[in-house]
Symmetry: C2
Subunit: 214 residues, 2 copies
């Protein structure tokens, strides 16, 4: 389970999706159209709401074979028996996160610079989200944007698989895959789109085309 398909990683946004049911509908449509991993991220939500939404997402995604990752909260991950956890640099330290979620769950970590990358222990962490590629309205506390070249410079030293995140769009699939991305993580490229399934399909096809072109 810890080696997952990172090709198209959907990070849900409750505001863009219109609440819990919107996130569930968006996740299902995306998973039916090429999304390979889904993250529940709702930093302003209380945990009871997160657990309920996480359980509904797991029920929607498990039959499609798409793992569910919980952002930040290892306890919510355990409560809804999610497939994994994603932590940032100010969240639980990786050793604590790994100890709490156990050996079989997926652990992802956000990295924004070379120092953070050098500190990654691939025995604890399964994959990295490297970003932001470009600045974004979704995450107001994000670090300075890397651009494609900054991403490539970090990805060249990756100790484990990496996804690129931060204003990632279908037209960036080719340069990001060429720069070493094992997948793309997206928020606004799917959440809140008139047809999230079609948006996911377009992204999945762009990633596939980028891989064929390598």
């Amino acid at each position: 389970m810890r080696n997952v398909n990172l090709s198209l990683y959907l990070v849900l946004d409750p505001d863009m999706c219109g609440g819990a049911q919107g996130m569930i509908d968006t996740a299902r449509a995306a998973a039916q159209n090429g999304a390979t991993l889904v993250q529940l991220r709702a930093p302003h939500w209380k945990k009871r709401a997160l657990v309920e939404c996480g359980r509904a997402l797991k029920a929607a995604l498990a039959p499609l074979g798409v793992p569910l990752i919980i952002n930040d909260h290892a306890d919510v991950c355990l409560a809804c028996d999610a497939d994994g956890l994603h932590v940032g640099q100010e969240d639980l330290p990786a050793p604590d996160a790994r100890r709490i979620i156990g050996e079989h769950r997926i652990l992802g970590l956000s990295v924004s610079n070379a120092r953070q990358l050098a500190e990654v222990d691939p025995a604890l962490v399964d994959h990295l989200g490297i970003g932001p590629i470009f600045s974004t309205a979704t995450k107001t506390d994000a670090a300075a944007e890397l651009g494609i070249e900054g991403f490539a410079a970090l990805a060249a030293h990756k100790p484990c698989p990496v996804v690129a995140i931060g204003s990632v769009k279908a037209r960036l699939a080719q340069p990001l895959i060429a720069a070493g991305a094992d997948g793309l993580a997206v928020v606004s490229a799917i959440c809140g789109r008139p047809d999230p399934g079609a948006a996911a399909r377009e992204l999945a096809e762009a990633i596939e085309a980028a891989r064929r072109g390598l």
Copy 2:
């Protein structure tokens, strides 16, 4: 461990105490002067800061025999090996919280009305915080104030030990203990006081006097 002395339960506030070191100093002074239980509550903090502060609090309190409770975050409770967890009605459901923290840690639950009280499972929950007794600036999302009579009406049906919380002061010890409180939980009566140790001592003595008077 799950049956603890609830007499004087200090709930730390990072703003009133002036940050992490202020909370640690306040907790130590209070524990040396009659506080019997300390809770780390910093709802706006990221988890790395919570874990670091929790570990420092545990190191300060364990030699004094005063248990440390973590508010809301079962994962932080595990990460810093705290003695217990406190959850509210919108936090992790008690069955999930108990499963995550294990059988030997303390689990407290906030209750504000008769419906919530009737739902408490004393096999899962070790004690309750009943409040707010009076409205408070500390907790902006709190329910309507109960007053002493409202507290007494709930405490009469308590399925486990209870502490009274919400603008609780030393002069309220007598009526609250008489109304069925097993202890008082305080924030601003200790945090941010010129001499937190003296404030704790005054509260502890008022609680002791109230018990002698029963």
